[in-house]
C-alpha cells in the first residue's frame, strides 16, 4: 500500500491556497479575453480590461487577485490503495489552509460561529472538506476558495419532475438575475441537477470546476448550457453590473441520477474571479 505523509499533504494544500488566489485559471482568462472582444458596451469593455489587468498584477506580484480570499473548499479524492501516515488527514488539510493563508498574506474570512459569536478564527479554518474514495493509488486535492459575495447569491430549489426543462431554466434565470451586480459579473454559472437535497449543491460547485473533473455531457445538456448562456447574456446586467452584453462567461451543468419524485436544482454562482488549483499526489 502506498504511503503519503500528512506533512506532504499540508505543504501541497498550503501551496494550492496561494496559487489559487494569485493565478487566475487559464480558461477564465481566455474567456475574459473573448468577452472583451464581444462586449458592446464601452464601459463593459473597460471593466473587462481592468479585470484582465488585475489578474496580471496578482500573477506578477504574488498578491491575491481579490481581497476576499474566500471560504476554502477542499475536494480530496483518495485512492483506495493509499495510506496516510504521520497524522490526521483532515487536520493536515486544515493545517495547509492555515499555513497557506498566513504565508500568502491572504485574508482570513471565517467566523467561528454563524449566529451568536461571529468571531474571526484568524486562520481561515475550518475548511469545507469533501472526501471521496476512488480506485487507484493517487490522491487528488482540489482547493477552491470562493468569495462570500457570489456565494450569497447561489441558490437551491427542489423542483417537481413536471417542472421539467422550463422549470430548470426559469430557476437558473431568476437566480442569475437576482445575483445581478452583487455577484461581480461576468459570472461563471455552475448548475447541479439531480441527486438529493444535500448532494445537488456539491454537483453545482463541481460544475464550476469542469476543467478539473472532465464532466461527461450529452447533446441535451450541452444544448441547455448554450441556451442558458444565451438567455443570461440578454439580461443586460453586463460586466460589474454596469450594463452590457456579457453577464456570464460560461454555464456548466453537472447531472446525477435522482429519485422518481424529485428534480433538485442548485445554482452555484461564481464571480469572474473563479479560483481553483489542484494537484495529484
Amino acid at each position: 500500500m502506498r504511503q503519503i505523509s500528512s506533512k506532504k499533504i499540508t505543504q501541497v494544500v498550503a501551496d494550492l491556497c496561494k496559487k489559487a488566489n494569485f493565478i487566475l485559471p487559464f480558461f477564465v482568462k481566455s474567456a475574459l479575453e473573448e468577452a472583451y472582444r464581444n462586449e458592446e458596451s464601452e464601459r463593459g469593455r473597460e471593466v473587462i480590461h481592468k479585470i484582465i489587468e488585475n489578474a496580471g498584477v496578482a500573477l506578477s506580484e504574488d498578491v491575491p487577485m481579490c481581497q476576499d480570499c474566500g471560504i476554502t473548499t477542499v475536494f480530496a479524492e483518495i485512492g483506495q490503495e493509499i495510506s496516510v501516515i504521520d497524522g490526521d488527514l483532515k487536520e493536515a488539510i486544515n493545517q495547509g489552509v492555515r499555513q497557506g493563508y498566513k504565508e500568502g498574506y491572504l485574508r482570513k474570512s471565517i467566523v467561528e460561529e454563524p449566529v451568536f459569536n461571529r468571531k474571526n478564527t484568524s486562520d481561515n479554518t475550518p475548511a469545507i472538506i469533501y472526501f471521496d474514495i476512488v480506485p487507484g493509488n493517487s490522491l487528488k486535492i482540489v482547493v477552491v476558495p470562493k468569495g462570500g459575495g457570489s456565494e450569497n447569491t447561489s441558490a437551491l430549489k427542489m423542483l417537481n419532475p413536471s417542472d421539467g426543462i422550463e422549470g430548470i431554466k426559469k430557476f437558473v434565470m431568476e437566480t442569475v438575475e437576482k445575483a445581478g451586480p452583487n455577484a461581480c459579473p461576468p459570472m461563471i454559472i455552475g448548475v447541479g441537477i439531480g441527486g438529493s437535497f444535500d448532494s445537488v449543491g456539491i454537483l453545482a460547485k463541481k460544475a464550476l470546476l469542469e476543467e478539473v473533473y472532465n464532466i461527461q455531457k450529452d447533446d441535451n445538456i450541452l444544448g441547455l448550457e448554450k441556451e442558458l448562456l444565451k438567455d443570461i447574456n440578454r439580461l443586460g446586467i453586463g460586466p460589474a453590473g454596469l450594463g452590457g452584453r456579457i453577464t456570464a462567461l460560461k454555464v456548466n451543468i453537472n447531472t446525477f441520477p435522482t429519485h422518481i419524485g424529485c428534480l433538485p436544482v442548485a445554482v452555484s454562482v461564481s464571480c469572474h474571479a473563479l479560483r481553483y488549483a489542484w494537484e495529484v499526489l
Binding site: I51, V57, V63, P64, Y105, L106, R107, P181, A240, G241
Partner: protein, 181 residues
C-alpha cells in the same frame, strides 16, 4: 473626469450624476458588516462613533494583510447591500458618501435623496489593481475585528463610478435597461 477630495459637501454631491466617472483623492474610511453593526449600536445607545463620519466617505472593504514591502494588501469593494440596514442612520448622522459594489435598497436611495449623499461603485474583484491607488493605511477603530476593522486610507486617484446619485439615479438600473433584449 471628475476629481473628488473628501470631505464632501452638499454642493459637491449635487453635481454628481449616476454614470459619472470620478477619481477620489484624500482620506476614506473602511467599514463593513461588523463595524456597521457596532456603529449602529453605538448611535442607538447614545455613544459617539470612533471616527467623525460627517462629510466623509465610507469604503465597504476589508483588505488582505499587506506583504512586508507594501503599505496595503489587495482591497476591492464588498457587496454594499449588506450594509443597507445600517445606512440610513449613518446618513442621518452626517455620512455623505459610500464606495462599494452592487445594488442599494429603496430605503437607502430614499435616505440618500433626503440627506444629499452619493454612492460610488468600484469594480468588484480588481483588488490588486485598486491597491495601487491606496498610499497609506492604518487601523483607527475596532482592531479586534481583523480585516473588518475600520482603516483610515489615504487614496490617490481611486477610480469609481457614481452608482446612485442624490436624485435617485441608478447606474445599475439604467445600464441594464440599455442592454436588455
Amino acid at each position: 473626469m471628475i476629481t473628488i477630495t473628501p470631505p464632501l459637501d452638499s454642493e459637491m454631491v449635487k453635481n454628481l450624476k449616476a454614470g459619472d466617472e470620478a477619481l477620489i483623492s484624500g482620506t476614506v474610511y473602511t467599514a463593513r458588516d461588523e463595524a456597521h453593526k457596532r456603529f449602529f449600536e453605538a448611535i442607538m445607545s447614545g455613544y459617539s462613533l470612533p471616527i467623525d463620519i460627517r462629510g466623509q466617505i465610507i469604503y465597504y472593504a476589508g483588505p488582505t494583510p499587506p506583504k512586508p514591502d507594501k503599505e496595503v494588501g489587495s482591497i476591492g469593494p464588498t457587496t454594499s447591500g449588506r450594509m443597507d440596514f445600517y445606512t440610513p442612520l449613518l446618513l442621518k448622522h452626517g455620512l455623505n458618501g459610500m464606495i462599494g459594489k452592487g445594488l442599494r435598497s429603496p430605503e437607502v436611495k430614499k435616505a440618500m435623496m433626503n440627506e444629499t449623499a452619493v454612492y460610488f461603485s468600484a469594480i468588484g474583484g480588481v483588488a490588486a489593481l485598486l491597491a495601487k491607488h491606496v498610499v497609506k493605511s492604518k487601523v483607527v477603530a475596532y482592531e479586534d475585528l481583523g480585516p473588518e476593522a475600520v482603516f483610515e486610507l489615504s487614496v490617490e486617484e481611486f477610480p469609481v463610478f457614481v452608482a446612485v446619485d442624490c436624485y435617485g439615479g441608478d447606474i445599475y438600473e439604467e445600464g441594464k435597461k440599455c442592454y436588455k433584449r
